[in-house]
Amino acid sequence: MRIAQHIFRKDIRRLWWESTVTLAILAALTWADRWRNDYTPGTMEGWLNLLLPFAWAYLIALVVLEDPLVGDRQFWVTLPCRWPSIFAAKALFILALIHIPYLVSCSVILGARGFPPINYLPQLFGKQLALVVCLTLPAAALATVVRNVVQFLLAIILLGVAATLMSHGQGMLDALWIPVNYVHNAVTLVVLTAGTLTVVCLQYVRRATSLARAAGAAAVIATAMTYAWLPQPRTLELQCALDSRKTVGEPLSIHFSAGQGQPADLGRRMPATPSRVTLAIPVALSGLTDQTRVYLNQLALQVDTTEGKHYSATLATSRSEYETLPLVAFLELAGPGHARQILRMERALFDQIKDSTTTIRGTVKADSHRADAAVTVPIGGRVLAPGLGVCSSAIVQLRPGEDGLKVVCESPTDIPSGGAVTLMAANRNSWGERLGSAMTFVGYPRNTWLSPMNRRDAFFHLTAEDVSGRAGSRWLVPVSAVSGGHILVTPERTACDMITYELKGIRLSDYLVR
């Protein structure tokens, strides 16, 4: 350990300037995060969230390359010290200059946001683990198989471009209302971690560069393949199965329910175009109690025709090519116990199968929430909402001349998307939104994975005049409704269930939205 400390002190002496820069970036990010009251970060925080991981990765590369593993001219190899000393020195550096400062930063943010850090140690250590798995280990592994920093940066750029292309192809930038697939992400990260650990061990224990490079390339390919090919519905199903909270009593089920009328505004929201049509098939939800509110996430859907043709729907994502997918499906709630199976498809496809008798087979993930446990948030107030953290509301300027009522819930623990937010006016009129239903498009990086806080928000757009009843008025709230009104948030998730269903004998042309 004496030798490890000696090498550590040498690395500190060598990299003090670079270390100071990363600490300064972290301090700036901490400051920005500490004051943020939105899901979306500000411009500076957005860029800092991108810059800091790069700065850390660069620092890791520098410290690893101080005593490089590749080559046959290294000074340290002929020094009388074993590989564990070198390894320990590097680990100590990364711990002292990256992980401990990050832990302090997260604790400061939590404390400043009103969450005593000591109560959230599992979340804080979870963040550390995420940093190890997503950044420290991959950066260290890469640094052990390159000759110099230039090679490291080129490899980072190459991997970054490949990941961006792949994420675009895979619809990685899912909308906030798409459930987070923890199992899918965890399995992918386990593969990545196994690969990066193998590379690091091969290099520090044996300095087997060719083998380590091959292992690294295999790890990258295996990670990408796992991410791309691990079936989303199956992993979400597993995630749901691992959730101990299940609906008690009659299981949830979905079945065809004739007799519901067409929704009045659906034609406006998803209008038919020369190339696309919308279908709305009424379905009933059974097994729900009055105290339960359920959110449905379509995981799979297949349309089978009597002619033996099969058409699979794509999961809804936020990709810009959403309207170019042949068939997109989701379930839309339409009142207590009722929903609609929405199909948005190419007109050419519709024309082919519209008069066939089809069977629709679907799988949805149902997240149930307690409808009777709504928490009241006064306008401009801040309250604790179990299961959601701390929720607050305030009137903010959305754009010049346009105000909105913002509701933000934040917590160090995960906040499930889709929590109901209802603005109740004094005259008993109400407007509904869901936490995380709005996504602001900004011209800078918006990912805040380093933040120890989870935040979800919902916006009500305020208008000077009452436009209730007009087209599109569902999203607009008169300013007068705010005074004397209050917010209700429905927080607690009670169960996660997978529902598979079959809608038989469906003639699609009967459900065309006009």
């Binding site: 004496r2 030798i3 000696h6 040498k10 002496r13 060598r14 101080e66 490089p68 080559g71 046959d72 001219r73 290294q74 000074f75 190899v77 002929t78 020094l79 009388p80 010290c81 074993r82």
Partner: protein
């Protein structure tokens, strides 16, 4: 001190070393010489585990070089022209950084070497001349009194004064320390090496004590009575045979004062005079390289 057994090292399709067998006795100053690309540097790197052998093994101080631990490395000094020193360090910090690794470090020796080499302690290594950097590296190496010194091209490109200083400092450590050095500075090596090995195209052509080598190589000049044809196949040991009129010249690699005269007379019965001149190391190596179709460095 060092045994190389059937040592082979390949870099892709390049065979840097091919079945090298070599033994470096304790207390010797053993020089490996040979042309560029002969495999000298590779051989030394294999000794300190900077490279791994493709096949065969190197035993250093009785330990397989792949398993050299701190206790062995603390007694080995390695200095190479190509070694990546931490050039950002000041000379003083470099010496104090190295000191922590070596239990046998002697501050007195370090101070003496700093004084002798006139090392500027406050200047970073990268700002030093090549000679001064080598001096700093040698000071760091000699200060822990290694039992084995591995030196790869330690003097190339250095001025005479610096060279003499380095050689003097190294020789002060012998015979307590064994020295294995790779070099193509033959004139320098001749002055202090006790043993020599000639490495060419990854193979050891010869390895022996310097005294026996210089004894057995002679530049032979034979004055014939009349021009005559050279033997169809020259006897073993006759290298680079040249005949011009009545004068025959060659390098004899197996010179024996008692038998060589008779051997020549058997092939050239009518001769007037035989002259056998001692050869400097440079001439021996050149003759060997020429005989194998290569030019010595």
């Amino acid at each position: 001190m060092i045994q190389m057994q059937a040592l082979t090292r390949n870099f892709g399709t390049l065979h840097a070393l091919q079945g090298v067998n070599l033994e470096v006795p304790a207390g010797s100053v053993f020089a490996i010489v040979g042309p560029n690309g002969a495999g000298k540097t590779t051989a030394l790197k294999l000794c300190v585990n900077l490279l791994r052998a493709t096949t065969g093994r190197v035993t250093v101080m009785g330990v397989d070089s792949r398993r050299l631990g701190p206790s062995e490395l603390a007694r080995i000094g390695y200095m190479a022209e190509s070694r990546q020193l931490p050039e950002w360090m000041s000379t003083g910090y470099f010496l104090s950084y190295c000191k922590e690794f070596y239990p046998n470090w002697s501050d007195d020796d370090a101070a003496e070497l700093i004084r002798r080499f006139e090392l500027p302690l406050d200047r970073p290594l990268k700002s030093l001349s090549r000679g001064m950097r080598m001096k700093a590296a040698l000071a760091a190496t000699l200060s822990y009194r290694p039992q084995l010194l591995l030196l790869d091209e330690p003097f190339s490109g250095l001025d005479v004064l610096v060279r003499e200083q380095l050689i003097e400092s190294i020789l002060e450590r012998t015979p307590e320390a064994t020295v294995l050095l790779a070099s193509h500075d033959l004139a320098e090596i001749e002055s202090f090496a006790t043993h020599i090995a000639y490495l060419d195209e990854g193979r050891i052509r010869f390895a022996e004590e310097m005294s026996t080598l210089t004894e057995r190589f002679r530049e032979i000049e034979v004055l014939l009575e009349s021009p005559s044809d050279p033997p169809p196949s020259p006897p073993p040991g006759w290298l680079n045979l040249q005949q011009s009129g009545v004068t025959l010249r060659f390098t004899h690699a197996r010179y024996d004062p008692d038998s060589t005269d008779g051997e020549i007379r058997r092939h050239y019965p009518a001769l007037r005079e035989i002259t056998a001149s001692p050869m400097p190391l440079r001439a021996i190596v050149y003759a060997l390289a020429k005989s194998s179709g290569r030019t010595a460095a």
